[in-house]
Symmetry: C2
Subunit: 154 residues, 2 copies
Amino acid sequence: MAAPFSFSERGATQAVEEGRTLSPKFDADGLVTCVATDAASGDVLMVAHMNAEALARTIETGEAWYYSRSRRALWRKGESSGHVQRVTEMRIDCDQDAVWIKVEQAGAGACHTGRRSCFYRAVPLGKAPDASLVLELREAERKFDPAKVYGKGD
Amino acid sequence: MAAPFSFSERGATQAVEEGRTLSPKFDADGLVTCVATDAASGDVLMVAHMNAEALARTIETGEAWYYSRSRRALWRKGESSGHVQRVTEMRIDCDQDAVWIKVEQAGAGACHTGRRSCFYRAVPLGKAPDASLVLELREAERKFDPAKVYGKGD
């Protein structure tokens, strides 16, 4: 398993944006944002965070590891549910504070609520938001029963 | 234009995850994460942030507004470049701290470096990251000259 690894120190903007060295910009909490999309459909499955260790383990193993802000713990996706994510490609953005992974999602879904994607509600557009705004369901049927799948959340 | 609007106060987890009221979870800086994907290709174009006003304006106008953390300012995407993003769909995630927008990207690209997407470099997988790691270019050719397009950045 990935040993603790110090990613490269960040150089000037030009080096970060145009260089070919991985030098992530971790925020004050030591995290980068990670977007996971379905390698087949392109849908966004979830947005989560990685600390340096989660990022290193994901790179080494080719399976998604995250850092749970609520549990304050390293988190192998699918650890309790079996719904692991095999990473087919990882990309880093221009200023290296966000990661995009394309994944093959094992099992019924990525979301702890039982849906395939965490993004199962749409926001209607074209009108200033007010108290009448009602979210619209999108592929919101449950694919699995979270109470049966999760021991301690995932 | 959207007047200052107070999004709903957040209720219990059940209401936030299963309800149809938009009650975003802004972080300590007053921001939610926003992922913009290309409505045609599904590619992730950029990851940015929205404060309450940017979110409200995006909902009202159907064009992407963000909040620039570096400039500490509300930011209409394409304001200086003309590379506006027309939002074809907005979704919110289970705990309502991340937004996914599908956009029609005007102009040559979304990235301030001149690429179509901010994610123009891939991280090789399958080996623990070390000093030998070299990012691989992906659709990294410049689509426009940022020096000519941007007055003050975008």
